[in-house]
Symmetry: C2
């Protein structure tokens, strides 16, 4: 594991269970890269709004995108602060007491102000990187964005600077006196599993290897 | 599918792709009940914060909980507005053009102001319901919360009133001229799969059926 760490700020300092926290850049990147969904939080008229969307990463930039007509992206392109959170669930932790039940997970929180990607080259490269983030090897095969599609797509970039990871692993930790209870305890691991692809009608091409073997 | 619908408000009105939206109460409940993780958004010093946590539902109340020392819950117990979003990922939608790639998903957004559950009876019942939400059949077996644990646990309830679901299903929808491209297209379905349980050290009890057969 890399020892490169991000600078800790007041809001990325974990108040609860700081031993689960990490500012390790490689660990933060790995969680962002594995996840397919992030939750973007922003403030509209003083109230919080949290929207799920796809994100992707290049270097120290976290990208997300959407329709130029979207309320979220219109707010964020105007320099509104965002909080982007990604969570991967790894298991249920079943303890002998209700209180000590938990979950194994890996999460990342990124705070910052996004900027709109307006340069044509960066925008095209970022949209290629999005397809590669989801299915490596696919961006070279599909038809790339045309001018109308580029105009309709807003791409935002958020620097991964004020960020932290939080990770729980391992089994339940019970109070000493509860170990005598005749209750099963342990972990039920879980993961996002990809199943056999369903080929669309009107397809003549064979299923590519990158789809048949798809897992993250 | 029930025809009982929630009242639509300005912020639960989908600006984008309204055909994916639903205000059907049963549909909203089913998504909340299947999900193990929600993302709670709230505003701290004018900036958004999004934290992953576990939620559960009873009737028209969405519950979440945590340590009485947690920053999130301390903010929310004071009547701060929250936005709770839940997302279930169902598949990758791979189109012939980069632009029409998508994901199949089911998501719910709930807006509102949470109240702290202070009554002892409601709090105990809610914490039982949390265990049952995660693993049905387990709350009767485990040691319930003692007085110190009850004091350390803050439970919040958010009415499921201003809420909507957004759902995408089905295959890719390409531009007509792109169907001639020799590109594979289709869906790679995915789901959260639970694996064989890992029994903790010092357990003498057999693995219960509700754990061996665990899926959501």
């Amino acid at each position: 594991m890399s020892t490169i760490v991000l600078e800790q700020t007041q809001r990325t300092t974990l108040k609860r269970l700081p031993k689960r926290g990490s500012f390790d850049r490689e660990r933060i990147h790995a969680i962002l890269d594995e996840a397919l969904i992030c939750h973007v939080g922003f403030v509209v008229d003083g109230a919080p709004v949290v929207i799920p969307t796809i994100h992707w990463r290049e270097g120290d930039l976290l990208y997300f995108h959407g329709s130029a007509a979207s309320r979220m992206l219109r707010s964020l392109r105007n320099g509104v602060e965002a909080c982007v959170t990604v969570t991967l669930l790894d298991g249920l932790v079943l303890a002998r007491s209700a209180f000590h039940h938990s979950m194994n997970y890996r999460s990342v929180v990124v705070f910052g102000t996004a900027r709109e990607v307006t340069g044509r080259e960066e925008k095209l490269r970022a949209l290629d990187a999005l397809v590669e983030h989801v299915v490596r090897g696919r961006s070279a095969e599909v038809r790339g964005p045309n001018e109308a599609e580029l105009r309709q797509t807003l791409v935002l970039a958020l620097p991964i600077e004020e960020a932290s990871a939080k990770i729980r692993t391992g089994g339940p930790v019970d109070d000493e006196e509860d170990y005598a209870l005749p209750v099963w305890a342990g972990v039920v691991p879980c993961s996002l599993v990809f199943e056999r692809p369903l080929t669309d009608d009107r397809v003549t091409a064979a299923v590519p290897d990158y789809v048949n073997a798809y897992q993250r």
